[in-house]
Symmetry: C2
């Protein structure tokens, strides 16, 4: 195959707007800290109006993952929808300047490029209010077959489940990938997102997914299992590998026969947890697509997650390939 | 007077696009490190195309200064031109969310909001390539007379000298301010800008300016004096106060009778010098408009400059009022 890729991701093409905030601001507006909620254009304008000064940078969960993969030296592609506006140009510039292939046509309607208003509280947690805009317009027509066939792993973000045509796009992409003997991966993204779409997530996980990423809350929500151990039991064997992250407690890699514990990589000071899961997935998938043993995939993942939470913003500031070379 | 202001600034309404870069990239394109050059729309598109992934945040030298003044608890206004596009909305949002009055009408032509491509090299220096866009359209018609009359100090950035109608706007604003018994301040901004407009800068400084800000290179360029001591001699008495910054060597406050040395405030690690001069001016003008002795104005200025160079970006991340309260 010409031009093989390690990973192609399908996800929300979003620009993040990061601002510092305090707990009272969120509580006063009934926004649950640590959650991601969808808002419409009007709500986004209203909320932006009362938000503090922001910093804009390209975001989107799966897009952050391929950005991380590129920083590790991997080869990646991205499928997602921007509009033909200034934020859309920023998104396209940032991801392509990292060497990620991104050829999805911009939309031509009046729906602007999506944005995620990120409130970073003093405890370094991030609370996200997302106006999907054009990002929610991913449909099966956007699934570039040759891109999928070139990639060892096709990766989906759960957030896109909030946009119905995207679910069909995932199934189409999974079928193309499997027909080409490639693998398919999914991150559950958010426990509230899992609550909104549990049945469809279960169908996808049990029928199409080889490598599943979830944090503790998400996997417990998926199986409504009440506690983490029961969720580990429930997911084992449902896909080849389940990678379950637990913040400072590290992660668990669960295969049908084995359970591998991955300790968290030390961080001097946690500044902003935005992107921790995205970069954990980047590191893991880099190792996975480069034939590393699972424990080593986990170690690379933990290093990448540690880098991202040591500064504000969800795209790496350090060269991850150099960082990993020091430790692995 | 109702609603008095400490400072109203007239300057370039710009959005900064910050990216890390290396010396070779700049050298290869013939861009002098540490300089600010103007580029046109086409050059901006071309340069952005080869620039690494960026972070966008509101910038503009004088706008950074009033943002700093607001963070110190001061009351400020801003006059500058954005377009009716997404970057224009970002600029307006960021400055007004800090409490700065900003009511300049957006332009209605096709010229987009200006942007400054900032290349941050590993030595933490910043090299700027600015596409002025709508920012360059400031004209005498934009000088809001009541805003100027309400402010103790009207502050100009030298960069705007590159846009001819802005020079007339400065003279008009200076005349309004002086007629109202208020003061006028200018920062020279950039030695190349001084080289481009020396005669007009000298006219303005010697005829209209009460408080002048310049760094070592700029004041030497203004008087073509060859060395700093000769420039100090040349500027003394030309305005009430000349504030001459010298990076890690601190600053000199020069009045007709006195010279006050201001030591630099210690910084653990210099990350990015973007905005050092802007925030030095913010701190000085805050002290100056609050009746503090000149030495104390200098001390506040040095604390603000130290905060801004300790992180990437030219707007304060810490609450400057709290920071200053700890030290002054």
């Amino acid at each position: 195959m010409t031009n093989p890729l390690d990973v192609v991701a399908i996800g929300n093409a979003l620009v993040d707007v990061l601002a510092h905030s305090d707990d009272d601001f969120l509580a006063g507006r009934g926004i649950e800290k640590g959650s991601m909620s969808l808002i419409n254009a009007e709500q986004a304008d209203e909320l932006y109006g009362v938000m503090g000064p922001g910093v804009e940078c390209s975001g989107g969960s799966a897009a952050n993952t391929v950005a991380g993969l590129a920083s590790l030296g991997g080869k990646a592609g991205f499928i997602g929808k921007v509009a033909g506006d200034q934020l859309g140009k920023i998104f396209k510039h940032d991801i392509t300047s990292l060497g990620v292939e991104f050829n999805s046509e911009p939309t031509h309607d009046t729906n602007p490029t999506g944005r995620c208003l990120v409130f970073v509280t003093p405890d370094a947690q991030r609370t996200m209010q997302t106006f999907l805009g054009s990002a929610g317009e991913v449909s099966p027509a956007d699934v570039n077959e040759s891109l999928i066939r070139r990639a060892q792993v096709t990766y989906f973000e759960g957030y896109l489940f909030d946009a119905p045509p995207a679910k069909q796009a995932y199934v189409k992409a999974a079928e193309i990938a499997h027909a080409a003997n490639k693998e398919v991966s999914l991150t559950l993204s958010d426990k509230f997102c899992v609550d909104r779409h549990r049945a469809e997530f279960l169908d996808l996980v049990h029928g199409h997914i080889d490598v599943l990423f979830a944090n503790e809350n998400e996997i417990v929500a998926l199986y409504e299992s009440g506690n983490f151990d029961a969720a580990v039991h429930a997911v084992r064997g449902q896909c080849d590998v389940a990678v379950l992250t637990r913040s400072e407690k590290g992660a668990l890699i669960v295969t049908p026969e084995h359970t591998i514990e991955v300790p968290a990589h030390p961080v001097a000071k946690v500044e902003d947890t935005t992107g921790a899961g995205d970069l954990f997935a980047a590191g893991f998938l880099y190792g996975y697509t480069h034939g590393r043993p699972l424990a080593e995939c986990g170690k690379i993942a933990a290093i990448c997650a540690a880098e991202i939470i040591s500064h504000v913003g969800a795209r790496p500031e350090a060269n991850l390939a150099e960082l990993v070379a020091k430790h692995v």
